[in-house]
């Protein structure tokens, strides 16, 4: 006489067969891939556009500094007056005109040089031009000081501090950030899942209330069974959706990459690259060697442990939140009434993410990180951000992990119990817009 599987099956099928669900599931990966392709295409398009800049050089300096680059090419005018050069530039449709007057020395030439263009020039181009002058000026000054260019390059070495643990293992700069981003990814996934599928659970409860089927069902099954079946069924639908996204997304990406010949490294380096790059510090001479170390370090992240704890935190966290969502759905009559109750649920989730990104990243085992990874409404997200650092020595102390899970478990039982009570009373209340006080009263029924 166990009716739970029946309920789960119905909830799952009701969700999966829903038209908007099907459309969302299959359209999202296509949209995502289309977006990646669009970005790739636009980047390429941008690269291929070449600007032509005219140069009128009356000075004795600057001969071959204005050399054609990937994005800009230079046309040199000779024997024209400034006015003629301007007219010509305009007529030819060039981007602009660099004018170098005839002066006694480089300093003066640079000072009086002009760039003429139709509109205010593109910053990138301006910077490029300015660098040409700057380099030339520096070269000149160095020569005055009697230093050769080679000597200067030698002087301008980058420096990196050697870092190591006390045990002598080499530490990598930025590895904490990378680990935190991985953990953050897990945490973010939990949050998104809770918000999206918690909302589904809530809407499904409201639907049962407004369609008045609830009392028919409640006379055959216990409200708690119905609530649990709904939560499980909806999350299975969610997991199905995620699985489809991952599989189709990967397939589509691979197909798209091969068809359009986009190198994934260029796409990712234009997107995520800079952010990561700052952490990793660019231009290290032994780049290959370092990358290997990073790869090794990433490989050494205890993935199995991470996924096991992800599942624990994910399931407990999701059940806590979705039972609150179910209780809200039961308490109200329509979706517009849910606003006042939803905000307090989203708040701890947002807080967890922000605390995670601002505090846990920089100090994964500091007091704030510890506090929020113990507090049950934020721990699923915050703890996931700390865990990639490992457990025990140098990572999350075991007592914290155990305490966090125990508190979460206790909260889970308590919240589900409370939510079930509100749910049980709420689903049979029609036409009332409840206040918090009323919800509190229901707990005593």
């Amino acid at each position: 006489m166990n009716k739970l599987p029946l309920i789960i099956k119905r909830e799952y099928l009701a969700k999966v067969r829903n038209k908007s669900f099907v459309i969302m599931t299959f359209l999202s990966p296509i949209l995502m891939v289309a977006m990646v392709l669009l970005i790739g295409y636009l980047t390429k398009l941008n690269d291929s556009e070449k600007r032509v800049i005219a140069v009128l050089n009356e000075s004795d300096y600057f001969s071959n500094e204005f050399s054609t680059t990937e994005t800009t090419s230079y046309v040199k005018y000779r024997g024209l007056t400034l006015e003629e050069a301007k007219d010509s530039t305009k007529q030819m449709g060039y981007y602009g005109l660099v004018y170098l007057p005839k002066e006694d020395n480089l300093e003066l030439v640079s000072k009086r040089a002009f760039f003429y263009s139709k509109d205010a020039p593109n910053t990138q181009i301006l910077e490029h031009l300015e660098r040409i002058f700057k380099d030339r000026l520096r070269e000149e000054r160095l020569r005055d000081l009697g230093i050769s260019a080679a000597e200067y390059t030698e002087m301008d070495r980058s420096y990196q501090m050697n870092i190591s643990t006390f045990e002598g293992e080499q530490n990598l700069k930025g590895i904490n950030e990378i680990k935190a981003i991985i953990g953050g990814g897990f945490g973010y996934l939990i949050m998104m899942f809770i918000i999206i599928y918690g909302g589904f659970v809530m809407r499904s409860v409201i639907e049962e209330k407004t369609s008045r089927i609830i009392e028919v069902i409640i006379s055959s099954v216990k409200p708690f069974q119905l609530m649990l079946g709904k939560i499980i069924g909806t999350s299975l639908a969610g997991i199905t959706q995620f699985a489809i996204w991952i599989v189709t997304g990967t397939i589509l990406l691979v197909i798209a990459m091969t068809v359009f010949e986009i190198d994934p490294s260029t796409v990712s380096s234009s997107g995520v690259g800079p952010a990561l790059g700052q952490g990793i510090s660019p231009g290290i001479p032994t780049a290959d060697m370092t990358m290997q170390l990073y790869a090794q370090e990433l490989f050494e992240i205890p993935w199995v442990m991470l996924i096991v704890f992800f599942l624990i935190y994910f399931i407990l966290g999701y059940l806590i939140y979705s039972s609150i969502y179910a209780a809200i759905g039961a308490a109200v009559d329509n979706e517009t009434d849910t606003q006042q109750f939803i905000f307090p649920i989203i708040l701890p989730l947002m807080l967890a993410i922000y605390v995670g990104f601002f505090s846990v990243f920089s100090n994964p085992h500091g007091p704030i990180a510890v506090g929020f990874s113990l507090f049950p409404l934020t721990s699923p997200i915050v703890m996931m951000m700390r865990l990639p650092g490992g457990i025990g020595d140098g990572g999350v102390p075991i007592w914290q992990l155990v305490t966090s899970i125990l508190i979460l478990l206790a909260t889970f039982i308590g919240i589900v119990w409370l939510a079930a009570k509100i749910y049980r009373v709420g689903i049979l209340m029609y036409g009332k817009k409840p206040s918090y006080r009323e919800l509190f009263k229901w707990l005593k029924y």
Partner: protein, 312 residues
């Protein structure tokens, strides 16, 4: 054991609000029982307790002689007042789901559904979605789902609201057939006239208390007040009325000159009506002579007044 259901001193309170106060009922097997009372009297709460949707604070409910247990759900069919179906689910699938929740196997449920769909002539609805059906059509499905698992006890809360007269009659006939086949039936309604003719037993619930219960015919006998409605044909009504007033109390009278018909309402001191009838027979042509039986509604109002609930 002659009672399918015994409610023993059940009390239920929601916060400060008393929903039921010491209510006791006995519902005989194979009977139709009317649970009557105005909205908010506590009928639905009592029914929810019988269906184990909520639980009493005090008191016990016995089903077929045993304290009510979750297993008994399979033997109760309940059509709630607030009823509906999943809008986007197909009729057949939905009926199957609800039947399975009542404990039927899928195969059994399918067979029985087929039987009922044919019987109510709605076989072609199987693949339709509920949102394509009218309200009356959906109610038929709900009715089928309620009775499909052949429960011993059927509870209908405001059964005929939402049905058009034709469908209401079809459903009424089906309910009577179910009774013939041995089911016990509870009707709960605030529209007492709608079920009066069907019920053998009634209980009146008012402000969380049961104020009256028993066999309807006996209650009516107890409440009848020996008032008769009489219609006679004669030339001189005033003479007869004068004559009658010596012995009886005339409550109202009306004479139709054209038809020579006198209609009047008369109060007898006891239920011996033969004397009056023979008196009338000797003086006029008697067209009708009917004892006014109080309706459930009248009984209800009088009981409330007797019990001192006038402060409404």
């Amino acid at each position: 054991m002659n009672n399918i259901l015994v409610v023993d001193d059940v009390t239920k309170q929601y916060g400060d609000h008393k929903a039921l106060t010491g209510v006791s009922l006995e519902i005989p097997k194979n009977s139709i029982y009317g649970l009557l009372g105005p909205n908010g009297a506590g009928k639905t709460t009592l029914i929810r307790i019988i269906n184990q949707i909520t639980y009493p604070d005090q008191g016990t409910v016995f089903f077929d002689g045993k304290p009510l247990k979750p297993e008994h759900i399979a033997q109760i069919g309940y059509l709630p007042e607030e009823r509906g179906l999943y809008k986007s689910m197909k009729v057949g699938e939905q009926a199957l789901y609800l039947a399975q929740l009542k404990g039927l196997s899928k195969r059994e449920a399918k067979e029985r559904l087929k039987y009922w769909f044919d019987r109510l002539d709605i076989g072609d609805w199987w693949g339709k979605k509920i949102q394509e059906l009218s309200k009356g059509m959906a109610q038929k499905i709900q009715f089928i789902v309620t009775v499909l698992h052949e429960p011993k006890l059927l509870i209908f809360d405001e059964p005929f609201s939402g049905f058009d007269p034709i469908n209401a009659n079809i459903i009424k006939d089906e309910i009577l057939k179910l009774k013939e086949n041995g089911a016990s039936i509870i009707f709960s309604t605030h529209r007492m006239e709608s079920v009066e003719e069907l019920c053998e037993y009634i209980a009146l619930i008012h402000r969380s208390e049961k104020i009256l219960d028993g066999k309807l015919s006996e209650i009516k006998k107890a409440f009848k007040n020996n008032i008769f409605d009489v219609g006679v044909t004669l030339e001189n009504p005033d003479l007869l009325l004068e004559n009658l007033k010596e012995k009886y109390e005339i409550l109202s009278s009306n004479y139709n000159n054209l038809e020579k018909q006198l209609d009047f309402s008369i109060q007898l001191p006891n239920d011996n009506s033969g004397e009056l009838l023979s008196l009338l027979g000797s003086k006029a042509n008697v067209n009708n002579f009917v004892e006014t039986i109080p309706s459930a509604n009248d009984i209800f109002i009088r009981t409330i007044q007797n019990k001192g609930f006038e402060n409404e």
